[in-house]
Assembly symmetry: C2
Homo-oligomer: 223 residues x 2
Amino acid sequence: MNKSLPRIAILGGTGKEGPGLALRWAYVGYPIIIGSRQADKARLVAEELNQQLGIDTITGQENGDAARSADICILTVVQTAHQQALEGIKEDLQGKILVDATARVDFRDPHPPSPPSAARHAQNLLGPGVRVVAAFQNVPAHSLKKNLGSSLDTDVLVCADDPAAAEVVIHLANASGMRAYYAGGLDNAVTVEGLTSLLISMNKYYGTKTASIGITGIDLPRG
Amino acid sequence: MNKSLPRIAILGGTGKEGPGLALRWAYVGYPIIIGSRQADKARLVAEELNQQLGIDTITGQENGDAARSADICILTVVQTAHQQALEGIKEDLQGKILVDATARVDFRDPHPPSPPSAARHAQNLLGPGVRVVAAFQNVPAHSLKKNLGSSLDTDVLVCADDPAAAEVVIHLANASGMRAYYAGGLDNAVTVEGLTSLLISMNKYYGTKTASIGITGIDLPRG
């Protein structure tokens, strides 16, 4: 663990996406807090991830406690839990960056969502004291957990009204082996949310599991 | 010109996107009809394109006549002209594939559109006798016109309720140097439409003009 790195809380971090993100950042030295509605469950998942990496720097806390302890918070709940999760930690998030990774899709009946985006909804609910950034909605969970030190063959579209907050998240994505691009304000995030349905359709049609989005035509150094 | 290839009408084909698509397909032997509300304008653009390629296989006709003469029709009008264009050629399109390439974005105030997609709207308006396919909404017009025989560094997401119709369009995209993927039904096209706003945001932020979307994680042979 590198003590100069920001502390990252992964709220709702016991689901499918959260542990994979936790592993990637813990692997490169970030202090990680797994958040859950139940502190016991959070600690259990944190302990499993520590064992997997042979480290002891991942801790588990109740979501609100995790948010208060962290510099940057990542919300990885499912769509149906989104509003309730945000209402429960609104005060704990003030002054921080909240990265909303909510995949807004019904896997039984996938179709693109209507505006506003989940992240716009979060920003409206949390108020101007929280800088909301939308990112990581489409990163395949099972890809995150493999080859932790290697680059992922997926690009992250980062939407935020505050480009400086987006750049913090782009840096985090780069640190975990993902190329990331600033893709405009929070309203644009509804299109990133909609990509989930397209990727599901493509995987079904082509018999794959790893369809993902890439960006071409912009030369970025790999972070 | 290869007489065994289907005849392609590019309706509203005198704008920014149409001539580039016409050049690519004419270059590889497809017979092309440029359609316009004004037959004179269509013929003028057709003649310019013929001269550019040193051929005489591109013709120009009024939109309805062009649609009736063609096997496959591509609609490349701007969003504001979409409904009126469709109403004018509804009968001419019966029994054919209509590829809707409408970029549904206000370039002065880009933001993702709400469902339904332009292509779903087209399908509802045209009825079940026309097989609507959504494709080519995000292909940069100025990339189309360069290096006609070379592959483009852009992927085309093809949405259609009828996958067989989508495969016809995937084949057309491949023939013109673009990789293309079936990305689900017409409702999914609203997300492809929304990508235009993201690409505009990315080009503005990174000072580029060629930001485009690629698909990773699916192995396709280049067509």
